[in-house]
């Protein structure tokens, strides 16, 4: 199986490293995330600072680790918000197939899809001022629509299957059927979508922080680190390379993991494997 879905393991490993970095940053970083030392600014990698220092003399490794924490927090919060809204809405739509609730939810999702998440985040930032919460809210609302659609489709296909009808025929109430039989069968699809939306949220956070609308200084963010590095490109290109690599690492890892999960969980592919 390992050989058949290598993306799963590579993606899982890459994502795992980011996850570990984020957890580690909560308890320990080589230097304080915001600890400045102007005299030591713009140093290259050394034994003291593995990835060097930024323009205020802060340790880049510490800030990359802290940035992983920011990225993951924002990503998780956006996924949680999306699931909290999208899961019940999607199930409701599936059960009310082609009814008024289904129509309402479908049109609502269309409406949300009409506004790109990044633009909504800029809009929220314009009203509310910069902050990580903007990214969470904007991407989270976008995710509600994404999950509602995915859940509805998956639920409909499962609901057509005999075991579910049998459960209903035996007189079990709907909510119980949904939790016991429906959810476990669509969990895989949701997991795949969640990893992909996770990557989207991380990119959105980096993009908005790059524009100065994301996390507020001095909190670390990969996107803000890239923005600070921009005018330093000719002076010290390393400043841009490390946060850039971190973003690449996280997004690549999550996408591979999502791809791998999809292949792994896809029943059609599984059948072929079984043969």
């Amino acid at each position: 199986m390992k050989a058949r879905v290598p993306q799963l393991w590579i993606g899982g490993a890459l994502t795992g490293v980011i996850l570990l970095a984020a957890i580690l940053s909560l308890f320990w970083t080589p230097y304080g995330i915001d600890q400045q030392s102007i005299a030591d600014r713009l140093q290259g990698p050394s034994a003291g600072h593995w990835l060097g220092t930024d323009m205020f003399g802060r340790d880049i490794l510490s800030r990359i680790l802290g940035g992983a924490g920011t990225a993951l927090t924002v990503g998780l919060a956006a996924i949680a918000l999306g699931l909290a809204g999208g899961l019940p809405l999607g199930l409701a739509a599936a059960m009310n197939r082609d009814g008024p609730a289904d129509m309402l939810i479908a049109r609502g999702a269309d409406l949300i899809f009409a506004f790109p998440a990044l633009l909504s985040a800029v809009l929220i930032a314009a009203v509310h001022g910069p902050g990580a919460i903007n990214v969470v809210v904007a991407v989270g609302i976008f995710n509600i629509a994404v999950f509602a659609r995915v859940v509805r489709g998956a639920a409909l296909s499962v609901m057509a299957r005999p075991f579910l009808r049998a459960a209903l025929a035996m007189g079990r109430p709907w909510p119980s059927v949904a939790v016991k039989h429906l959810l476990p069968n669509i969990a895989g699809v949701i997991a795949v979508q969640a990893t992909i939306q996770f990557a989207v949220a991380i990119l959105a956070e980096a993009g908005l922080s790059y524009l100065g609308l994301g996390v507020k200084p001095p909190n670390p963010s990969w996107g803000k680190m890239l923005a600070d590095a921009q005018t330093l490109l000719y002076v010290d290109p390393r400043q841009a390379i490390f946060p850039g690599l971190a973003i690449l690492w996280a997004v690549l890892g999550l996408n591979l993991l999502g791809d791998g999960l999809r292949d792994f969980l896809d029943p059609r592919l599984r059948k072929i494997r079984a043969v």
């Binding site: 600890q35 400045q36 102007i38 323009m55 205020f56 001022g129 200084p217 001095p218 005018t231 002076v235």
Partner: protein
């Protein structure tokens, strides 16, 4: 055949590019500016961005401030001071015309000054005219100013962009279509992109050697650098990314001019906040700040630490950086004495310029060292003006550079944004207004600086440097900025 035709076409295109490149290099110049002005009438608004386009280029006053900060004759070719300094008689130059063809007459001067101080006037510097009692125009070329008190700085005041002479016929439309007497005429303004000026063939003085000047609005420092490297602009008169200067110094295509501005960069404190009314707290904040670290870290060494609100290159300057030096231990002791708890919150609002955003990160870290919890809020200029400078004055701290020359008088203003009220200081400022002897004035200015430093009114950080990066062949741009201006009168290609 087809191939040859193609080659010819490419050759022709290359030739054309080369030609236009050469032509461009000889007759026009393009300057990158960071902020787009809200409008183009220097007599109706404070933004430096207005003066940085029209001062000396489009509009002129009776006198003018030159690149060294000295007062030189402008539209007045000479003047006589009579009646013990209470009457100024100006003789206007002959043959001066506005860009719309009207001839400059003494009545235009009377009109301009009376318009500036009128009730409905939007002039941002009415104080410049406060000593003027009446303006008379006995004949076409004579203007007589009668003063209500001696004003030692009158000639200098009249050289400001806010005191330029406008034509009554076009005064109302100067915001969008400025009509002045200067060496360049307004040609076109593509909002959000560029402002174009074209040489004024009827200029009274020495005509500019540049046929056309373009001010290109590029608000991003990195994009300005890229535009200069690509040849899209010929100069960045005030570079926003000091870290790139070393790279330009090493590049033989460019010249780097390092000068000073009139910009006192300060950490303004809101005196309306009870916490910041306590002089011990304000002193603690100043003691917590390492000015050199800010100049090095935020400005890559460009800038001079200051200890009060005065420009170090001024003869009236006195170095007061020693009054409240960097001393975190003392800061902590003062805070303890004032009963300020560890973790007290302060809101620091930061406008877009590099000095504020980067300086803010360093100031926040330094204040955290002595126990404050500083929340940095990046704001754009519009927000800064409406939330901090005007309106509710909703801020604890902010970082801003006051770029008007000799602006220590702002500390005597009623209801100014940082809310400093000190009758003794106001009295001193009123006294200075009446003194015309330079030496005596300087002594009083030193006294005023001392009051502000002792009171730790604001956190005094550093004097903003002016660093210009210019194509080597373009000469005649100002090194220093004694007044807000990009005077292109003497600019030329060599």
């Amino acid at each position: 055949m087809k191939k040859m035709f193609g080659a010819c076409l490419i050759g022709a295109a290359l030739g054309l590019t080369a030609l236009s490149g050469a032509a461009h290099a000889k007759t026009g110049a393009t300057l990158a500016i960071t902020l787009e002005p809200p409008h183009l009438d220097p007599t109706a608004g404070a933004p430096a961005a207005i003066d940085e386009i029209v001062y000396a280029n489009v509009f002129e006053g009776l006198t003018r401030i030159d690149s060294q900060g000295l007062v030189k004759p402008g539209l007045a070719e000479r003047w006589v001071i009579e009646n013990d300094g209470l009457t100024y008689r100006f003789i206007l130059r002959e043959g001066v015309t506005f860009h719309d063809g009207a001839t400059l007459e003494a009545s235009d001067v009377k009109f301009s000054f009376e318009r500036a101080v009128a009730e409905a006037s939007e002039n941002a510097q009415k104080g410049l005219f406060s000593a003027i009692d009446s303006v008379e125009a006995p004949d076409d070329r004579t203007v007589i100013l009668k003063l209500n008190r001696k004003e030692g700085l009158l000639l200098w005041n009249l050289g400001w962009g806010d005191a330029v002479i406008v034509d009554p016929a076009s005064a109302e439309t100067n915001k969008t279509n400025p009509v002045g007497t200067g060496p360049f005429k307004f040609e076109d303004w593509a909002r959000g992109d560029s402002i174009k000026l074209v040489r004024n063939p009827g200029y009274w003085g020495k005509a500019s050697s540049l046929e056309r000047v373009t001010f290109k609005v590029i608000d991003d420092a990195a994009a300005q650098v890229a535009a200069l490297l690509a040849g899209d602009v010929d100069a960045i008169p005030n570079i926003g990314a000091p870290e790139t200067v070393a790279q330009f110094e090493a590049d033989p295509r460019f010249a780097v001019l390092k000068g000073t501005t009139e910009g006192e960069t300060i950490l303004s404190m809101n005196h309306r906040r009870p916490l910041l009314q306590d002089v011990r707290v304000r002193k603690a904040i100043q003691h917590a700040i390492d000015r050199k670290a800010i100049v090095d870290g935020a400005m890559f060494g460009f800038g001079t630490p200051i200890g009060s609100h005065f420009a170090p290159h001024s003869p009236a300057y006195t170095d007061l950086t020693g009054v409240t030096p960097y001393d975190p231990a003392k800061a902590k002791a003062l805070l303890q004495e004032a009963g300020v708890a560890e973790g007290t919150k302060l809101v620091l609002k930061l406008p877009p310029p590099t000095y504020a955003r980067r300086g803010g990160e360093i100031v926040a870290a330094q204040l955290a060292e002595v126990g404050f919890e500083v929340e940095q809020i990046p704001v754009d200029w519009g927000q800064w003006v409406s939330e901090v400078f005007k309106g509710e004055h909703d801020f604890d701290l902010t970082i801003v550079s006051h770029t008007e020359p000799l602006d220590i008088g702002i500390y005597a203003r009623d209801e100014y944004y940082f809310g400093y009220e000190n009758p003794a200081f106001k009295e001193l400022m009123a006294k200075i207004d009446g003194v015309s002897d330079p030496a005596q004035r300087n002594t009083l200015y030193k006294e005023a600086q001392r009051i502000l430093a002792d009171d730790a009114v604001n956190g005094f950080l550093f004097q903003l440097a002016k660093v210009a990066v210019i194509r080597k062949e373009l000469k005649g741009l100002w090194t220093n900025a004694p007044i807000q201006a990009n005077d292109l009168t003497a600019a030329r290609w060599e």
